[in-house]
């Protein structure tokens, strides 16, 4: 049930994000707007109102959604790739190596993301590429832990013993016999990671560490509206709602998949 509701909501969001340029005729990033169009409250003309530069918030939320979702998907793709490889190797090796590799993961999990982001941004600049890398760096560990646990459990299964008894080499064992059997678990954790990454990306962008203005992402729109929350509530409310609904739908899908 959760799975179905989540998929319907997510499908709706994806369609909106993909068709953003055709849904709204406003330019999300145009800066030179007449003063008369600033801080307009929601109306039929501007569904979600306008912000301090007279930009249509609806257009910004839709376009920002494209960027936020793109970043999240790219990050999760990278995190799944590194995380499952790392987890698979750790689980496969077992013993002391497994302990070492997993303690390293624990260490990274204990590292504050915002601090890491500030450092990297200060050292290398604030490009999208760095944002994606930071997010990958901070989100592959969960995937690694899940995959490792799966591999450890799989290793004792008779069909893996059978594969070993036929003399197959490590690569085949790992990539053909072990990892494909973790795909269900990987998918479930990946979906949940998407939700987390959207939140972290928004948080970093809100703090000015992520996507940079004037480019719209859900986090930067929130940032735009934070000073005028009392007078122009629509600037922060709509991207906030977008984040909540999207994260919720991913969580519902992820949970739904785990219970199947």
């Amino acid at each position: 049930m959760n799975l179905l509701i989540g998929l319907v909501i997510l499908g709706f969001i994806l369609v909106l994000a993909l068709t953003a340029p055709w849904i709204t005729r406003y330019d999300p990033n145009a800066l030179e707007a007449p003063a008369a169009t600033r801080y307009l409250s929601p109306s039929w003309q501007h569904l979600f109102g306008t912000d301090q530069f007279g930009r249509d918030v609806c257009a910004r939320v839709l376009h920002g959604g494209r960027l936020s979702l793109c970043i999240a998907l790219a990050v999760v793709f990278g995190a799944v790739f590194f995380g499952s490889l790392y987890g698979a190797i750790s689980g496969y090796l077992g013993g002391v190596w497994d302990q070492l590799l997993m303690r390293f993961v624990d260490m990274l999990l204990a590292f504050p993301i915002v601090f890491l982001a500030t450092t990297v941004m200060a050292l290398f600049g604030t490009g999208l590429k760095w944002l994606v890398m930071i997010l990958i760096l901070t989100s592959w560990m969960d995937v690694a832990r899940v995959v490792r646990a799966e591999i450890l459990a799989l290793k004792a299964r008779p069909f893996i013993l059978k594969a070993r008894a036929t003399g197959l080499n490590t690569q085949r064992l790992l990539f053909r016999h072990l990892l494909p059997n973790t795909f269900a678990a990987i998918t479930a954790i990946a979906v949940l990671r998407v939700a987390d990454v959207i939140l972290i990306e928004s948080a970093l962008s809100f703090l000015g560490l992520g996507v940079q203005p004037p480019t719209a992402s859900w986090g930067t729109i929130l940032n735009d509206g934070k000073a005028v929350l009392a007078t122009a509530w629509w600037i922060t409310t709509f991207p906030g709602l977008a984040i909540i609904v999207t994260v919720l739908s991913f969580n519902m899908i992820g949970e739904g998949m785990q219970h199947r």
Binding site: A156, L161, K162, R164, T166, G167, R172, R176, N181
Partner: protein, 332 residues
């Protein structure tokens, strides 16, 4: 039979010890086991659950999972000690020199790989065959194990196949590396009775055709009678009796063997309709981590002597081709 013993054995296990260490406790799953298998011979390894049969099978493949460890002895294949091989060379022996058939066909096939490909991958791995030729050879092998509709089964996933079909696929996998020795761990226990006899007949036929040696691990004396040339009876990690199959059935020497044979139900109705009474063996297999002193069987033994609880018996040879680990035969 006697001719067999003049030949060099294909597999010779000497004083093998596989122990599981759990903290301070040592679990002697396989303890000082000697066993020979000659080319073309079928040796049955019989014993109750938990006596170390499966651990012995996995030890031969050096696939005992930690905390289990082979702590002593030798496993010689054509005179070469497998325990001394580096892991890489050992891996070249697995599947190629000896194949393993598992007990439960429903869990021994990878659920996400097509059945045929699990055969073909072994052929590709050991003989560096290309995809097409491996597929052709796998299909041929599937015909040999008497699978119907081989093309269709090749492309089926394990869950789409019945238990009997899966076991045939597993046998084909074990044969794919063209090994000289097949170790079959309870190959029919998880199957329906009607399928059991089919699989046994198939194993017998394949054994002749491929000139295989067979180490058959079972708890079923029916299987032993149908298949084995020689029988080793295992109890609490040790082989307590070894004998040619017919001799073991007609004159079991070890009290444990005798008790096991008496616990088999017989389908025989005498004239007055009364059935032969079953004599269940009292007691249970001892905890391997906490074995009784002396002979591990002495608490259950109907004919125990005084020394049985004091020191473990060694192997005695009361007759040609017969080995028994029991003080009753010390004098003989």
């Amino acid at each position: 039979m006697n001719d067999l013993f003049k030949m060099n054995p294909l597999l010779q296990i000497r004083g093998l010890k596989t122990h599981f260490c759990k903290g301070k406790k040592i679990l002697r799953a396989v303890d000082d086991v000697d066993l020979r298998i000659h080319p073309g011979e079928t040796v049955a390894l019989v014993g109750e659950s938990g006596c170390g049969k499966t651990t012995l099978a996995f030890s031969v493949f050096r696939l005992v999972a930690p905390p289990g460890r082979i702590v002593g002895g030798a496993i010689e294949l054509r005179g070469e000690n497998l325990l001394a091989l580096p892991e890489r060379q050992m891996n070249a022996v697995r599947g190629r020199e000896m194949g393993l058939i598992f007990q439960d066909p429903s869990s021994a096939l990878n659920p996400v790989i097509r059945a045929g490909e699990q055969i073909a991958e072994v052929i590709r791995h050991h003989f560096r065959e290309n995809r097409k030729s491996a597929r052709r050879q796998a299909l041929a092998l599937m015909e040999k194990v008497q699978l119907p509709n081989v093309e269709m089964i090749y492309d089926s996933y394990p869950h789409q196949l019945s238990g009997g079909l899966r076991q045939r696929v597993l046998i084909a996998i074990a044969l794919a590396g063209r090994p000289a020795l097949i170790v079959a761990d309870e190959p029919t226990s998880a199957l329906d009775v009607s399928i059991q006899s089919q699989i046994l007949a198939l194993l017998k036929q394949l054994k002749e055709e491929f000139k295989l040696s067979l180490l058959l691990i079972t708890h079923d004396f029916g299987v032993v009678a149908q298949m084995a040339d020689r029988v080793a009876v295992m109890y609490a990690g040790k082989i307590v009796e070894e004998a040619p199959a017919p001799a073991l059935f007609t004159s079991p020497l070890h009290p444990y063997t005798a008790a096991l044979l008496q616990a088999i139900p017989q389908i025989s109705f005498s004239n007055n309709g009364a059935q032969q009474e079953l004599k269940p063996l009292a007691g249970a297999v001892p905890d391997l981590a906490n074995l009784p002193s002396g002979c591990a069987f002495h608490p259950r033994c109907p004919v125990r002597l005084e020394e049985c609880s004091q020191k473990p018996p060694t192997n005695f040879l009361p007759a040609p081709n017969r080995i028994v680990r029991c003080f009753k035969y010390e004098a003989a």
